[in-house]
């Protein structure tokens, strides 16, 4: 288990003891982190003591009160900055001194916790910082290894994970504070939105698993002879409940005899993503057509919908990680921005091609061409 050192600099023993109590059994983890991070607490009553401890112990996080008996917190902050220590500094400040907090932020303080704080506030802040710090150190490591791209991905991912949590947290707080009175019915919208964000987050985790498999080195296709009409039927069953809910008709045309050498799980991911998108971004009462045909060496899969479509500009980056079309037509639709990037990665790994034709308010058509007899030598 990894451990972060947290130095509490405050002349009030109560704050130091309270912080120790709040953090001593606290652990932070990330879905993609193998281990927890816990906290070792160090204490200093003055800025002078703090500097001594910082030089020797090199803490990871410093919780810094500005009003200290000797030198001020802001000077400790300057000291840390001048030494270029990899330390995250959080100013503990009363709200009245916002001006100071702003100045401190400019001098490199990461965050400020208003005093007096609740255990929840402190834990939330420490959790946030721990994750940032973890990612920051990860960047350094990855940069050193020339893996900058992977970090960018992680940083977008952390944003995508944070956004629904922030929304849900906001709603829970408001419900907890009974902002709309005692009647549970008044909170229906908040609860529905929270559930929607939970749903989105769950999908994100599933997509992440698919993506991780694709990104972890060489593709490990579990190749076998698959019958496309069988897999198409499974995918149709998967989207059916959703299609019924949206009143969208899904038609699949696929001759029984199309057989190809492919990973069945990956074919399912392709079809599930395309079909569910075609339903999701459709109008009520719309229709989805999936046609699968074969030529001598290739299989063609085409999925078209009568949905909201995309402008030329919106189509530009649509196959990249976390890219979603954001406009008034899509704002109620939950999505991770990973589906199409996953599909494209799979198609690419087989040496196939995916293209898109789309017109706003008319609909979109995705065309995929895949080699019928794939072998690893072909790609290499």
């Amino acid at each position: 288990m990894a451990s972060f050192k947290v130095l509490v600099v405050d002349d009030e023993p109560g704050i130091r003891m309270g912080t120790r109590r709040i953090l001593q059994n606290f652990k932070v983890d990330y879905p993609f982190m193998d281990e927890h991070i816990d906290f070792e607490i160090l204490e200093a009553a003055t800025g002078e003591d703090a500097i001594e401890i910082i030089d020797v112990q090199l803490p990871d996080i410093v919780l810094l009160d500005n009003k200290l008996p000797g030198i001020q917190g802001i000077q400790v902050l300057e000291y840390i900055r001048n030494k270029q220590y990899d330390i995250v500094v959080v100013m503990i400040t009363s709200y009245a001194s916002l001006e100071l907090a702003v100045k401190a932020t400019r001098d490199g303080a990461y965050d400020f916790i208003p005093k007096p704080f609740t255990p929840q506030e402190l834990r939330a802040s420490i959790e946030n910082i721990t994750k940032q710090l973890f990612l920051r150190r990860m960047t350094q490591t990855l940069n050193n290894e020339g893996k900058h791209i992977r970090f960018q991905f992680m940083s977008v991912l952390s944003h995508e994970l944070k956004a629904p949590l922030n929304a849900i947290e906001g709603y829970l707080r408001m419900i907890g504070e009974k902002q709309m009175g005692d009647n549970v019915d008044s909170y229906k919208e908040m609860i529905d939105r929270s559930l929607e964000r939970v749903k989105g987050m769950r999908q994100l985790i599933l997509d992440m698993l698919d993506l991780t498999r694709l990104k972890s080195g060489k593709p490990m296709h579990k190749l076998q002879q698959i019958v496309l009409s069988d897999i198409a039927r499974i995918s149709k069953d998967t989207v059916r409940p959703f299609a019924i809910q949206k009143d969208v008709d899904v038609y699949i045309t696929c001759p029984q005899n199309i057989v190809m050498n492919f990973d069945p799980g990956e074919m399912e991911i392709i079809l599930n993503n395309l079909l569910s998108n075609a339903v999701k971004y459709n109008h009520e009462g719309g229709r989805v057509d999936c046609q699968i045909t074969s030529e001598k060496d290739v299989v063609n899969i085409s999925v078209s919908d009568t949905g909201i479509g995309m402008s030329d500009e919106e189509q530009l980056h649509i196959f990249e990680d976390f890219v979603r079309v954001r406009n008034t037509k899509t704002r109620q639709i939950t999505g991770t921005g990973l589906g199409l990037s996953i599909v494209k990665k799979i198609v690419d790994s087989y040496g196939g091609k995916i293209t898109l034709q789309s017109f706003p308010d008319k609909g979109s058509t995705f065309n995929i061409t895949l080699p019928r007899e794939f072998s690893f030598e072909q790609v290499n």
């Binding site: 932020t105 922030n166 939105r193 704002r331 109620q332």
Partner: protein, 128 residues
């Protein structure tokens, strides 16, 4: 007369949460989900205070709205609510005269701010 507050944010959850809070403070609230929609609203509405998200369809939508609102109604106070500092590490503040000249907002607030803090800031800006 109830004061009217215009809230603009493209995150519908943040918008809903802020709207409910500000209504609880006793204000009338108008919302918009984009810079474009907000610009349309400002054509025929004169809010008493505005809260803008910074990054919407443009990375600087909030600043553009500030500029347009101040040009039309210079006396209307504006709060920019942003999570941008924590997300990107970019820092904004408007304590310096240099910033004040080009950023037309009166106050920057972090989106994680507590309801009571938000209320205090709004009351201060409205001189209530």
């Amino acid at each position: 007369m109830n004061k009217t507050i215009l809230i603009v944010d493209d995150d519908m959850d943040y918008l809903l949460q802020t709207r409910i809070k500000v209504e609880q403070f006793g204000f009338k609230v108008i919302t918009a989900e984009s810079q474009k929609e907000a610009e349309k609203i400002l054509e025929f509405t004169h809010p008493d205070l505005a809260i803008f998200d910074l990054m919407m369809e443009n990375d600087d939508s909030g600043f553009i709205l500030c500029y347009k609102l101040k040009r039309k109604y210079p006396e209307v106070p504006i709060i920019i609510a942003t999570g941008v500092t924590a997300e990107t590490g970019m820092l904004f503040d408007i304590t310096g005269d240099d910033e004040r000249k080009w950023i037309k907002a009166d106050l920057f607030l972090d989106k994680g701010i507590r309801a009571d803090q938000l209320q205090r800031e709004i009351n201060k800006l409205l001189k209530l």
